[in-house]
Amino acid sequence: MKLRGLRLDSHKSRPLERPIRVVPPPATLVLALDQGSGEDALPVVRPGDSVRTGSVVAAASGAAAALHSPVSGTVREIAVRPTPRGASRCIVIENDGRDDPVAPAAPVDWRAMEGTALIEHVAAAGTAGLGGAAFPSATKLALARAADAELLLLNGAECEPWICCDAALMRERAADVVLGAQVMLAASGAQRCLIAIEDDKPEAIAAIQSAARAATDERIEVRVLPAVFPLGAEGPLVAAVTGREVPHDGWPPQVGVVCQNVGTAAAVARLVQDGRPVTTRIVTVTGSGVKQPANVEACIGTPVGELVAACGGYTAEGARRIAGGSLTGRSLAGDDVPVTKGVNCILLATDADLPARAAEMPCIRCGDCATVCPAGLLPQQLHVAARSDDSAALARFGLSACIECGCCDYVCPSAIPLTVRFRAARERQHLADLERRRAREAKARYERHQRRLAEQAEAEREAFDDARRRARGPDSGGR
């Protein structure tokens, strides 16, 4: 598989000039039930309940990991609030400032534990993909175990411009990353671990290499990759490191790989060190819209505005707020939006950082988009298919393989918003599928109903015939 993508200005150096700062827990925390995976966790507290630091407030459900309170205090309400993904139900907690833990810190004796028991620990701690997807890590580890995956692939590529929380983590807490790798090797049953880092992060590479040497674990190695966006996305990463492709309808464990983010590994390390669940994460706060760009460690649920305040506040120029990087980040409605496990970066971008798009022009089929598409698609053809909403053509040109990285938009000389169109087309296809399935089910229901009515009528007729035969008496048969 050819590596396709973009070589971009990284814009990562300014936040990395300073060490990671810890943001104190705010007075009010907003814990989104959807931490970034698109699915809600199930709340287990009610308004008025008191919670302690580390107590479970929402249970895991499908693609949502469990959620814990980062502070002690009181649940004020459970209500829909703006979140990085739009809006979702959130548990709002008033911090009492006492930081009263639900259980004393206690290390986990992970070396003595079975893999499955370790996976349960990881699940109970609410560990989710801190790279941005916030998918439950334990589910991935369990899939890897079931599929006998041989390779644990730790993703420290961090390919998207502006985001550098993983780079900061690897520089400052390399030992945590390596310990987390060891724990996840034990949990997944994989034989070796590659930590993939792009070559624009020499300090992180050196730090991880020396931590791996210090741990004297030969199973763990650093794999240096070229700095190409979107190499840090799961599919392209697996292809770049192993040469294998994740099947379009499958998971990485099917090709012997389990991917985890380096931040997730560090979270697992803290879990085994003192038994604490995931209640904080490192977030890059950057862009020309903030006075002192930095990486901060903040409680999940901290409003974005508090992060900006911890970095010296806003600069004079007005700035757009984006959760994530310049290519795939989501625009935020305001600065009361809370940090979730999936928020790796808050980009406060001025017009100088992200110039406005030129006006859209017609597609000239130049094919520049196809040369950068990491999924090997022909965006120029998908564009035509999406415009006419031709589902057969959308399927033939592989809409479902689009990872929405935005590379095609980036190079398009006609400034066509391709990614937006593809997402919309996908949503329309999804709705149409749903509609078709409903229609099919309704038809089946109707047919069953008709059959039942017919059977009932048949039974009634037979009963009637029987009754008539009986009424005519025994001699009726001889007529």
Binding site: P247, S326, S331, P362, A375
Partner: protein, 319 residues
Amino acid sequence: MDAALAQPPHVIAGFTVPRVMFQVLGALLPVLAVQIHLFGLRPLLLVAVAAIVALACEALALHLRQRSVRPSLRDGSVLVTAALLALAVPPTLPLWQLALGATVAVLLAKHAYGGLGQNPFNPAMVGYAVLLVSFPLEMTRWPAPGGAWDAMTGATALDTLRTGLRQSYTMQEIQAGPAFGHIGATGGEWINLAALAGGLYLLARRIVRWHIPLAMLAGIAVPAALFHVFDPGAHASASFHLAAGATMLGAFFIATDPVSAATSDRGRLVYGAGIGLLTWIIRAWGAFPDGVAFAVLIMNLAVPLIDRYTVPRIYGHSG
């Protein structure tokens, strides 16, 4: 859209269609320079007339189609069409005929199909083909290099070759004639060299990619070389074909028009090779002296089919 809630990606590179088009125009300058050197200032006049007519037609079409006129006029695409047409026709062509060709190219080949990005056929080549079938004499007489533009005109090297072979002259006799230069046609070989230089610039600037030019040149050179080896008396060499007619202009500037070309890398190889092969076939056996225009138009017809069968393999999908 509200900029504050814009959709990702939030930044794009800012390569623009006008920038692409003006680079192409820039890359055509060597061809124009060589033509001016060979034929005097007349080629420049042709380019100017074609450009003015094409711009006027573009403005008219946009006005009739109720589109905003200015951004489309500024995108430069219509200038590329005009320049290609003006540089492909003989400099002696009457101006009104050139104007007619430019009008057909812009109004019929481009805007009748929906304007920029929608035309299935290369507009410049539609204009050229219409002129060729309408005014065959004017379209096939090129001036002798160096002379005043109307001093003497003669058949092109490709034309001389074709008629000479039909009249049973030997290849040596034919190629001793004044229309032949060192490797290709007199003058024509320099025009081809200039087009090659402009084409290499476009390749270096990644305005065009290598697939179509290389496939087209191979599509001409491979059959030409094979037939020349087995029957040198009846077939000119590959180097002659590469340096004669509109070979290089076609390979780098005409066949590479992305709108009317196949769109995947593999598709472009098929498309380019098809144009090359058809060009050579028309030159070797056809009724017209040069085949580039018709080869391009025929392969334009085949583009939907080529695109259908050359969809690249998608990540995570086998086969």
